[in-house]
């Protein structure tokens, strides 16, 4: 009996052990992930893949994120400033060993798009649908390359996702920036060709489309064209290039948008039509806003811009920007009898280009903090982020809705591209080429002026402005640049414009930012403590203008911008070691 059981159990043991040794016991594959082999089959696979790039566009969400109407300050320009001076403008950048915008992660999006371009060819399906997503991929490739171009200038160009064994490609030298832009032009030409036209077959809201790619192409072409023209002869220029090729491309691309006839300016002739363009929740029915981002607080996807902006956000509009606005008679303040001086906010905006009164807060009884409260004076009591830095508090872009100003409920639409840019790019490129005509002006800049009721810019009768930023350039270039500055004030264009015009030496180096006159606020102050508070907060210069950096290094000698170095970012030193063919940017 015993022996029998012993035997049985022993056998069972043996059987169990060996029967369980199924061959595939230790073959285990991922069970909740997909690989390339399971993917790249249908056009929908392409769609899902390119969707990642939409999500990657800047969204300005979350705590401490002021939104697009603070970019003129954060990027560094003469339009807006922060309470603290901009260290980058003051030449305080340092050369990093690693990181610095040139790390694995910084090249990730370009790799991702190239990965798409390597794989999409295996897809079978409707060719026009496939072309649409390929067009989107090209659009985003241009988007990310353009960001890099602005920081670093020359770049290595990649058409495939790199692998470890691509030693030659990994060790490539940088390609001259004009060749990089040539490539950007050619992929954007393809995108214009492949993408559906607005409203056409395959077009979808909130996806990029043909005319948008054209507008973006004109932006890049104008950037490079003017860069080559104005940096020519400096270490930042491109030898033997004057930019005219790209300026022509900018004209051509902008013209695709204009001549399509699908776009127009919004709110033309409406009271406060200009301001009302920038604080809408939904731009679906806009003819002007060509590409924008939507938020939905019900999903927890909200912004906090209005909450910050209503009290100044620690920012301020500069006197430099305010002074750029023409008077209602079409003449600059230095030349116009309409100009009422700067003694009060009301006098500053009196008889001026109506865009000024719609851009800064004025205590005139018709400017508001929100639906229930009017603007009385700049925010000067509170935490730094709840104060205005210059006395000129930004009004443009502010949503007055109490709900929008409630935390967790902000959903103002974010504008990435609007039609006005096509008009301004067209005009500027033609002005730079010296081919601009009155008809061109009437189709572009004078449309913008019509919206706000300003007199037309007439080519033959431009009033000479003693305060022109660029007296050596033609009057029309000066006025086109003024129009661009005014129309796009606080929208984040100014930094790039200064850079491509090589104008930081003129506009930034040695610049001491100023604001409004202080005396008017001391008059408003209700008691001595408030007067003291204003005096503490707003130091002034000899003329009584608020001089925020009076007591620091910028106050002494102005911004210490290094024109021989700071137009481009340095490549981290580690990268120069890893790729001996990389050359450092000038001055670093």
């Amino acid at each position: 009996m015993n022996n029998k059981i012993k035997l049985i159990i022993s056998i069972l043991c043996v059987v169990f052990v060996f029967s369980s040794c199924k061959k595939n016991f230790i073959d285990r594959a991922p069970m909740s992930n997909i690989s390339d082999a399971d993917y790249w089959k249908t056009p929908n696979d392409l769609r899902l893949y390119v969707n990642q790039f939409y999500n990657g566009l800047p969204s300005y969400r979350g705590y401490g994120t002021w939104g697009p109407y603070s970019l003129d300050a954060s990027q560094g320009s003469d339009n807006m400033i922060h309470f603290e001076y901009n260290q980058f403008l003051n030449g305080e950048s340092t050369l990093p060993a690693s990181g610095g915008g040139w790390s694995y992660g910084d090249w990730e999006q370009i790799r991702s798009i190239n990965y798409f371009l390597d794989h999409y060819k295996t897809i079978e399906g409707d060719q026009s649908e496939i072309r649409k997503y390929v067009g989107e991929a090209y659009f985003f490739k241009a988007w990310y390359y353009f960001e890099k171009l602005k920081s670093f200038g020359d770049l290595p160009w990649y058409s495939h996702a790199l692998v470890l064994s691509d030693s030659t490609a990994l060790q490539k030298p940088r390609l001259s920036r004009d060749l990089v832009v040539d490539s950007l032009m050619s992929i954007l030409d393809l995108a214009i060709d492949y993408l559906p036209e607005k409203g056409g077959s395959g077009y979808e809201n909130f996806r990029v489309y043909s005319e948008l790619a054209a507008l973006f192409e004109s932006r890049i072409a104008l950037y490079e064209g003017t860069w080559e023209k104005y940096h020519a002869g400096t270490p930042f220029g491109v030898q033997g290039k004057d930019g005219s090729k790209f300026l022509k491309k900018a004209v051509q691309a902008a013209n695709i948008v204009i001549s399509s006839g699908k776009f127009a300016l919004d709110n033309v002739g409406e009271p406060e039509g200009y301001r009302k363009l920038f604080n809408r929740l939904d731009y679906s029915d806009s003819k002007e806003v060509m590409f924008w981002r939507k938020y939905d607080p019900a999903d927890g996807v909200y912004t906090l811009w209005a909450n910050y902006q209503r009290l100044g956000g620690g920012l301020g509009v500069t006197k430099s920007l305010v002074d750029a606005y023409l008077c209602k008679d079409g003449k600059p303040i230095a030349m116009s009898s309409d100009y009422k001086g700067d003694d009060s906010l009301k006098s500053v905006v009196a008889n001026r280009d109506p865009r000024l009164i719609q851009t800064i807060q004025v205590n005139d009884g018709s400017h508001f903090i929100n639906d229930t409260s009017e603007f009385v004076h700049p925010a000067w009591d509170g935490a730094l982020e709840d104060k205005n830095a210059t006395g000129y508090q930004l009004y443009k872009g502010l949503s007055l809705s109490l709900e929008q100003q409630t935390r967790g409920k902000g959903s103002q639409g974010l504008i990435y591209f609007r039609y006005a840019e096509a008009l301004l790019n067209y005009a500027e490129a033609k002005a730079e080429l010296g081919t601009i005509t009155q008809a061109d002006l009437d189709e572009t800049i004078n449309k913008l002026r019509d919206r706000v009721g300003m007199p037309h810019l007439v080519l033959g009768s431009i009033v000479h402005d003693t305060n022109w930023n660029f007296p050596n350039l033609t009057p029309i270039i000066n006025e086109v640049r003024r129009e661009r500055r005014v129309e796009f004030a606080a929208e984040g264009y100014r930094h790039d414009d200064i850079w491509r015009w090589a104008a930081a030496g003129k506009l930034i180096e040695g610049w001491k930012p100023k604001g409004a006159k202080r005396q008017q606020f001391l008059k408003i102050a209700k008691d001595a403590p408030e007067k003291n508070l204003i005096k503490d907060l707003y130091p002034v210069d000899g003329n009584g203008y608020i001089f925020p950096y009076k007591n620091n290094v910028v106050g002494q000698s102005g911004y210490n911008f290094n024109v021989n170095r700071d137009y481009l970012s340095p490549i981290p030193t580690n990268q120069l070691l890893l790729n001996k063919h990389l050359e450092q940017n000038p001055g670093w």
């Binding site: 939409y54 999500n55 340092t94 470890l164 009591d381």
Partner: protein
């Protein structure tokens, strides 16, 4: 009856082992109910008495006599006599310092005289090793053992806490959870296991590998063995590249049933918390630092006036409505005038925690059982919104000798843990609550004052309402483990064991975010930041683990030749599944559930991972007359983690020992007069590591499959025409050739005892080197666009020693013992693909923990100092008084990092090493009559720590200069100012990256994080036998103790952070000091 009963566990075990045997009418439920009727009074109790003498016939006084398996015990009196009550077939254990213990079976006798011979303390005790046991005297590996005496009665939640300092080079550290009620500890044996990382050992409980050390009830533990060397661990192959902790739980003993109850009540107080500056000092320092950076006041003169008024009591409210026109909000941050130490406000002064343990054990000759129940209730220190950890444990170990050649056993274990804490959507707390608290300015109001429209209430910025009522985060883990085991002894010397274990860890987490409203001065209700919309989510995880072991041991002795051979097979499967779902917008916050949400885009996801391994193992032991010892081990292992051609590997281990004291010359030369025993050991073993530095990271269970990331629409934030859409992301690069890391360990050891066994010492030196360690293939240019995949391209080496010294003696009738442990290690990179030797990366020859930095000269006190000093503009563009002057080591007139390579690092040099050196523990115990006392110290001998520039806890204002990420504590008063030119901290710059220029890694701020901590001290009193016997109680002990009573550390001067949590970013839930009272009763 008895026969039938004893069959039942066997059948259960068989079912669990996967044997499909027809069970007839006997069901598991039936079996369970029957178990309760096991008679525990099978034997009669008798009184045994006798005398204990030594080999010379002298009576021994104070010999401990214990009824084995119980806590019944007594000691011999002044004439060597004793008397004890015991079952008629119980076993008595006689033990005495410096003498060999002896076990004697009672067998119904009432008089037992015993002779004890002086001898090998503990040398004959059995040590649990992988797949078996071994006499300590014959052990050749580096194995340390811990009895439950060290673990008993400590009011710790996790076993790991109790292990800290008990075993040399068993390194237990605080994790990011610090002193949180649910915190776990990091466990590591012998230091570095990777590039600067320290991985944990394999945990084996009752022979089942892959167990969870965190859920075990320390009270259930009988003994712990810690295997440190590779030869001894080789039996576990690739499961145990970095050591093994073998835990044996309590088993029942034949005899009367014993019921034991232990409890402790502990009062905890938080320790090591820094003190925040008062609001006036904070405001003034902020303004000073802001002026230094060229900016204006952060706190206006008006606010400072209000702060002063509030501090002096003339102003009663901490904040006011913001007077800005048209604004309906409370003044906050730099405009309010409160005075709050938020760390103090948010943590309780004390908290009571409690533990209860109840166990039943006993059995008959054939069937034995142990049932242990445990309950832990550990509320945390948060004052607003409780955080509570609870654990319930049940363990039942049952075995029965079915027939003389077959034993069956069933071991079951179940633990349930719950942790319930405030939730604020994660975003508000940034998942680092300590950081959020310490960056709150003291001027922020705790309360907003009453207005015409709003009552006085907690302010929104204080976050108190969110903590109190913002929803809860509730986690629970259910962890059942079932093991069925059959042991066959068909012929003499042969033992075969088959066991199967199913264990699972079920986690359930729910997060409820409530929308909390603050009342604005106008009476308007506004939702708190990040609390809108409200939401609810649930996550569940099932981590199934199955282990099958089958092995046999054959033992044979021929004359003085002793052989033992072991062979076996093991397979394991990990099968993990997770589900997660969430949605926004609840109908009501009173019923948080997915079903009660109405958001339009609920999120759903799952994930699944499997990992399978199998291996064949064998061990051969030989010893000649217990004098010459040899052990050879091998394991052939395979894993699903690698592709088939890289999947299997063979891992060998060999060790040898020599008990020199057994040689004739030892006695002849008289060495035995000093050294009672002396053993030399050596071992070499090779093990595989397939975990790539993180055993629990499921992401690397499929390292060679490039997969696209998939993101659900609800996790995206771009609204297309039809709403949000899913998206995919790009696969990373993979390396299909990766395979096992091979870890080789060489170990030499010596075990000796001396001075008549009163002194024992064990010392091991080791070298552990990992070949084919996974590192990036090399540094690639950034244009690669993704992190390069890992490759078996690096090699590392860790060297160290561990040492344990024990002294046991008695003075009169005071017994005492001291046990000290000391461990040390250093790690080196011996191979790494960094041809340029960039010092920002690993490179060949780099010692792990190396800190590169500048040498500090001192402060510039004037601009003239700056002008005459080397150019520091590579670090920052401008320098002035109060800034740090760095030393120009290479004399080139400027301070920089050269090429950032080992050959050219400019003015950098090696200024320290962060590896903890000389970790130690010291345990002393003493007993006298019915009193006992023990004391336990633990610490680290040396450790360099440089606080990175981001550490606001150290610097006050971090390198970013951010006013929002700063935390000013009282220590930050001691900074450079013109009137305090030798302040400890440099000149501060607020709101400016300039602040970082003075926080470069440098000698001035290098910290020594050494410490010695009085971990535990306790005093107990056991009621004397004569009282106990009259009330029918076997043992009754009361005790009091203190945990974390004191700490000494050179860190104290400029940071008051606890040195045990100092090394990370310091922003960690505070540790606690505990004062406990407890009770042990055995019936």
């Amino acid at each position: 009856m008895e026969k039938r009963l004893s069959r039942i566990p066997v059948l259960l075990a068989m079912i669990l082992s996967g044997f499909l045997i027809q069970l007839g009418s006997v069901s598991a439920v039936y079996a369970k109910s029957e178990l309760h009727s096991v008679s525990v009074k099978d034997f009669a109790e008798i009184t045994v008495s006798g005398k204990v003498i030594d080999t010379s016939g002298n009576p021994l006084i104070g010999v401990t006599i214990q009824v084995k398996g119980t806590s019944t015990g007594t000691v011999t009196n002044a004439t060597g006599h004793y008397q004890i009550k015991a079952d008629e077939n119980a076993t008595l254990t006689f033990s005495y310092v410096g003498f060999q213990s002896k076990e004697v079976e009672v067998n119904g006798r009432t008089s037992i005289d015993v002779t004890l011979s002086s001898g090998a303390m503990g040398l004959n005790e059995l040590v649990v090793v992988g797949y078996g046991t071994q006499k300590k005297v014959n052990a050749t590996g580096a194995v340390a053992t811990i009895g439950n005496d060290i673990l008993e009665d400590r009011p710790v939640t996790r076993l790991s806490q109790a292990l800290q300092g008990t075993v040399a080079n068993l390194n237990i550290g605080a994790t990011g959870a610090g002193g949180a009620p649910n915190a776990t500890q990091s466990i590591n044996i012998r230091g570095y296991t990777g590039l600067g990382s320290t991985q944990g050992p394999l945990i084996v409980i009752d022979g089942i590998q892959g167990a969870d050390i965190n859920s075990i009830n320390p009270n259930d533990i009988e003994t712990i063995s810690v295997i440190k060397d590779a030869a001894a661990a080789a039996i576990y192959g690739s499961s145990a590249p970095y050591g093994v902790i073998l835990i044996t739980t309590k088993k029942g003993k034949a005899g009367e049933m014993h019921v034991s109850y232990n409890t402790t009540f502990t009062v905890n107080t938080p320790i090591g918390m820094p003190n925040m500056m008062n609001s006036l000092d904070h405001a003034l320092l902020y303004n000073e630092a802001s002026h230094n950076a060229g900016s204006g006041d952060v706190f206006s003169s008006g606010t400072i006036k209000r702060i002063k008024a509030y501090l002096s009591g003339t102003l009663k409210t901490e904040t006011q409505p913001n007077p800005a026109p048209g604004v309906d909000s409370w003044r906050g941050w730099g405009a309010s005038n409160g005075n709050n130490d938020w760390l103090d406000i948010y943590y309780k002064d004390f908290q009571v925690i409690q533990q209860h343990n109840l166990s039943f054990s006993g059995g008959s000759k054939k069937s034995k059982f142990y049932v242990g129940l445990g309950y832990n209730n550990k509320p945390g220190m948060l004052k607003y919104g409780d955080d509570v950890y609870k654990r319930y444990n049940v363990r039942a170990n049952i075995s029965t000798q079915v027939v003389d050649w077959l034993k069956a056993g069933l071991r079951t274990y179940y633990s349930k843990e719950t942790y319930n804490r405030p939730w604020s959507g994660g975003r508000l707390t940034g998942n680092n609550w300590m950081h959020q608290l310490a960056r709150k300015w003291p001027s922020i109001a705790l309360y907003t004052p009453a207005t015409a429209n709003a009552p006085k209430q907690y302010s929104a910025l204080s976050n108190v309402p969110v903590m109190e009522n913002g929803g809860r985060h509730i986690e629970s883990w259910d962890h059942p483990t079932l093991t069925g085991e059959i042991t066959l002894t068909p012929v003499k010397g042969l033992t075969a064991k088959v066991n199967y274990t199913y264990s699972t860890k079920i986690s359930n987490t729910s997060n409820h975010l409530k929308t909390i409203y603050e009342t604005l001065p106008s009476g308007l209700q506004q939702p708190f930041q990040y609390t809108f919309p409200n939401s609810f989510s649930r996550n569940a995880g099932f981590r199934h683990h199955q282990v099958f072991n089958a092995f046999a041991t054959y033992q044979l002795s021929l004359d003085n030749h002793n052989f033992k051979i072991l062979g076996g097979y093991v397979r394991e499967l990990y099968d993990n599944t997770y589900y997660s779902a969430g949605n926004n917008n609840l109908y009501t916050d009173n019923v948080p559930s997915l079903s009660t949400t109405y958001g339009k885009s609920p999120s759903v996801s799952d994930s699944r991972y499997q990992l399978a391994t199998q291996g064949y193992f064998g061990r051969f032991n030989y010893n000649y007359n217990n004098k010459y010892l040899l052990e050879i081990t091998g394991r052939y292992d395979g894993t699903s983690r690698f592709l088939s051609d890289a999947r299997y590997r063979f891992y060998p281990g060999v060790s040898a020992g020599w008990n020199i004291d057994k040689e004739a010359f030892w006695g002849n030369l008289g060495i035995d007069q000093v050294f009672s025993s002396f053993k030399l050991r050596g071992s070499y073993g090779s093990l595989g590591d397939q975990s790539f530095g993180n055993a629990s990271n499921e992401g690397n269970w499929y390292p060679f499959y490039p997969t696209l990331g998939t993101v659900a629409p609800t996790s995206s934030n771009w609204y297309f025409d039809g709403g949000r859409e899913a998206y995919t992301t790009t696969p990373g690069l993979v390396n299909p050739a990766i395979t096992w890391v091979t870890v080789n360990t060489l170990d030499f050891g010596v075990d000796l005892s001396a001075l008549n066994y009163r002194l024992a010492l064990s010392f091991d030196w080791y070298q552990r080197s990992a070949k084919d360690y996974l590192g990036p293939t090399q540094n690639y240019p950034a244009v690669l666009g993704t992190n390069p995949p890992q490759d078996n391209s690096a090699s590392i080496e860790t060297k160290g020693f561990d040492m344990t010294i024990t002294w046991k003696d008695k003075i009169g009738n005071v017994n005492y013992s001291i046990r000290g442990t000391l461990g040390n290690y250093r790690g080196y990179v011996t191979e790494y693909p960094n041809a340029q030797k960039l010092i920002s990366n690993w490179y060949e020859g780099r010692e792990m923990g190396t800190i590169f930095g500048y040498k500090t000269v001192g402060y510039f006190q004037s601009y003239a100092d700056v002008a005459s000093a080397p150019d520091q503009s590579k670090i920052y563009s401008s320098w002035g008084p109060g800034d740090i002057e760095y030393a120009d080591l290479n004399g080139d007139g400027r301070i920089d990092w050269g090429q950032n390579t080992l050959d050219d690092m400019g003015d950098l040099s090696v200024i320290g090493n962060s590896t903890p050196q000389f970790s130690f523990g010291l345990y002393g115990s003493v007993d006298w009559k019915n009193f006992d006392a023990s004391i336990f110290f633990q610490g680290v001998g040396h450790r360099d720590f440089f606080p990175g520039g981001g550490l606001n806890y150290f610097w006050g204002i971090p390198s970013s200069g951010s006013q929002w990420q700063s935390s000013l504590f009282n220590v930050h008063h001691d900074r450079w100012t013109p009137s305090n030119p030798n302040g400890y901290f440099p000149k501060y710059y607020l709101n400016s990256g300039e602040n970082g220029k003075n926080m470069q890694t440098q000698t001035k701020y290098m910290q020594n994080a050494a410490y010695v901590r009085l971990k535990n001290i306790q005093i107990g009193y056991t009621l004397p036998d004569h009282i106990l016997s009259s009330i029918g109680v076997e043992k009754f002990r009361v005790f009091i103790m203190a945990e974390n009573l004191a700490v000494l550390s050179p860190l104290g001067e400029h940071t008051n952070i606890d040195p045990e949590i100092f090394f990370s970013d310091m922003k960690i839930y505070p540790l606690q000091r505990g004062f406990s009272a407890g009770l042990n009763v055995t019936f």
